[in-house]
Symmetry: C2
Subunit: 324 residues, 2 copies
C-alpha cells in the first residue's frame, strides 16, 4: 500500500488511522471523537504540559516517529511522577508539515502507546489535535491522580534533609554528545546511551514510592542536575550540598563512551538534561525507596544555591528560549 | 524601559513576567511553578486540546498578541461548553521565535486572562510551557466540570429532534474575508465583523443551559456549519435538514459587508468556521434556552448527511491539514 502524505489523506483519515493505534486506557469515559474527552476522577487532579520543537529539542535525522512519541510521553509522565502522583491520561497536540507520511505519524502513535504501556501501565492518550505547520511541534498535556496523598512540591525541602536521585544522571546528555559527534561506529557501539537520549525511561512508579516514603520536595531532572537542584533550593529557600564521591556511580556509567570521545564524565552528570530521573529530598529519618541513591544534603540558605564538595557550581543547564 | 526580546531576558524571566499577569482563578490548588498544577475536582473532568499555527490559523500582521491570547482561550472554552460543561482551568504551551519582544508575550497573557474573565468567569490559566521555534504555535488544553450532569456528545441526535444554534454563523468568516481583501477602509468600517474573527466571543455559559434543557447532541461550529452538522449526522447515524428561511437572520447580519465586498452571504453562513457558536439538537418537546434559534430538524439516515431545503450541500469547510 502506498505511504501517502497527510495532505493526500486529509485531516479526517490521517486522524482516524493514528487514533486507531491508541488504546483507551483505564481512565477515559469518553475518548477521542467528541469536543472533549471525559476522564474518570473522584478527587483533585494534576495537569502539566511540555513541548518538543524540531531542531530545538530534537532532529528528525536522529529520532524516528516512534522515538518522538515515546520521548514526549516519557518526559510528561515524569512531571506527574515528580509530584508524587500516578499518571492517568494525556492529550497530544501535533503540528507537522503536510508532506509528512502517514507511516511516520502511525509510528509516532505507536511510540506514544509504547511509553504509556511500558512506563505507566493504565495511562493512555485520550485526545489530541493535528495541525499543519513548517516544523514539527509536539505538545503533550499529562494528567495525574494523587489517591489521597499530598502532592510533593519543590518548596518543601528542609535543612537536614538528604538529597537523593532515582534513575541515571548524564546518560541522555552523553547520548546526545554521541549523536552530535556524527561518529557512526560510536553511535552503534554505545546504543544504550543513545537510546537514553532518544527514548528515556524515567522511573515513573518511583514518584509515588518517594511520596509514600515522605519526600519533602521533588522534581524530574529535565534541564540538568545543578539547574534543577537550584530550583529546589530557590523554592525551598535552602542550599544544597552535593558530595562528588556520591556521584561516582553516575560517572562510572558514562566512563566507556567518555573515553571513546576523549571527554570527562562530570559535565554530563552535573549539567546534562533529559534523563527525567527523579530528584527528591527526604527527612533524615526516612527510609528511602531502594531505587533512590543519596547524593547530598540540604543545608541552610547562604550565598550559593548549590555546592559541590563545598564549592559553588555554575549553572549552565538548558534554557528553552536561548536553546543552550 | 526597553522592550527586550525573550532571548535577551532568558526563559526564567520571560516566564516570570508573563505568569505575573495571570490570575489563579477558582480551581487551582497548586498553580504555576511546580512540575504540575493541582486542580480541585470532586468528580470526572473533561479535557480538550486545540492548536493555532502562525500563517495557517492566523497572521501576525492581522492579530495582536492580545487577540491571539483571547482567541486561543475562547476557542478552547467553546469545546467545553459544547459538551454541556463548565470550563475550569487551562494550560498553554507556546512556541515563539526567540526574537519575540516581551511586550508581545505580556499582551498575549493579558488576552488569555481577558477571555477567561469575560467568557467564563472563574476559569483561569494555571500552567504552561514556553519554547522557541521558527513560527508561533499556541497549544491550549482546557478542562471542564459537569457538576453531576451527563456530557452532551455528538452521537445523541434522534430523528425528530430540532437543530438549533446559539451565536453567529459566518461572522468570523466574513471578518476573515475583510482582512484578506486588504481594503483598510472596509476593515475599519466593519470592525465588529473583523473582531469576530480576531477575538470571537462564543456563548460559553449557554453550553450548560443547553445541557439542562435536554440537548441530545452538541458541538461548537469551528470548521463551518455544514461540516460540523455532518459530524453530528455521522456520529448519530441520522441526517439533518436545514431550512434556508431559518438562516435569513444570520445572512442579514452579514448583508452590509457582503454588499461592500460584492459577495453573497450564504457561503459564509454555511461554510464559515471559527465562530465557535454552539450547534445542538433538542427533543421536539424541549423548551430551548432563549439564546438558541432553530435552523432545521433531524431526519432518518439516507444518502446525504446534510440537506438545505431538500438539496444536498457540499462540505467545503476547513481541513486543518490541507489548510483550506
Amino acid at each position: 500500500m502506498d505511504d501517502l502524505s497527510l495532505a493526500e489523506l486529509g485531516e479526517r483519515e490521517s486522524l482516524r488511522r493514528t487514533v486507531a493505534r491508541l488504546k483507551p486506557g483505564e481512565h477515559a469515559i469518553v475518548g477521542s471523537g467528541d469536543d472533549a474527552a471525559v476522564v474518570s476522577a473522584t478527587d483533585n487532579f494534576l495537569v502539566s504540559t511540555d513541548t518538543l520543537v524540531e531542531n530545538h529539542d530534537f532532529k528528525l535525522e536522529w529520532s524516528t516517529g516512534f522515538d518522538l512519541g515515546f520521548k514526549s510521553v516519557a518526559s510528561n509522565l515524569a512531571d506527574i511522577a515528580a509530584m508524587g502522583a500516578t499518571p492517568t491520561v494525556l492529550v497530544v497536540a501535533m503540528v507537522v508539515p503536510k508532506t509528512t507520511k502517514i507511516s511516520w505519524l502511525e509510528a509516532f502513535a505507536d511510540g506514544l502507546q509504547a511509553a504509556c504501556d511500558q512506563l505507566s501501565p493504565g495511562s493512555a492518550v485520550v485526545g489530541g489535535d493535528l495541525a499543519s505547520g513548517e516544523q514539527v511541534v509536539i505538545s503533550v498535556t499529562v494528567h495525574g491522580k494523587l489517591d489521597g496523598q499530598k502532592p510533593v512540591l519543590r518548596s518543601g525541602a528542609k535543612v537536614g534533609d538528604v538529597v537523593a536521585v532515582c534513575g541515571p544522571l548524564g546518560k541522555a546528555a552523553c547520548g546526545l554528545t554521541l549523536l552530535q559527534s556524527g561518529q557512526q561506529d560510536l553511535i552503534r557501539s554505545y546504543d544504550d546511551w543513545v537510546a537514553a537520549q532518544l527514548r528515556p525511561e524515567p522511573p515513573i512508579s518511583q514518584g509515588v514510592a518517594a511520596n509514600l516514603a515522605g519526600a519533602t520536595a521533588m522534581l524530574d531532572v529535565s534541564d540538568g542536575l545543578i539547574k534543577d537542584l537550584g530550583r529546589i533550593s530557590k523554592a525551598s529557600n535552602v542550599n544544597i550540598e552535593i558530595d562528588r564521591s556520591l556521584l561516582s556511580g553516575y560517572e562510572a556509567m558514562l566512563d566507556l563512551p567518555a573515553q571513546s570521545l576523549g571527554l570527562q564524565t562530570l559535565g554530563w552528570v552535573l549539567q546534562g538534561g533529559e534523563d527525567h530521573s527523579l530528584l527528591a529530598t527526604f527527612p533524615p529519618s526516612a527510609t528511602l525507596p531502594r531505587s533512590f541513591k543519596v547524593i547530598g544534603k540540604v543545608v541552610a540558605k547562604s550565598e550559593h544555591d548549590v555546592l559541590l564538595d563545598g564549592q559553588p557550581v555554575e549553572d549552565t543547564g538548558w534554557d528553552s528560549i536561548a536553546g543552550n
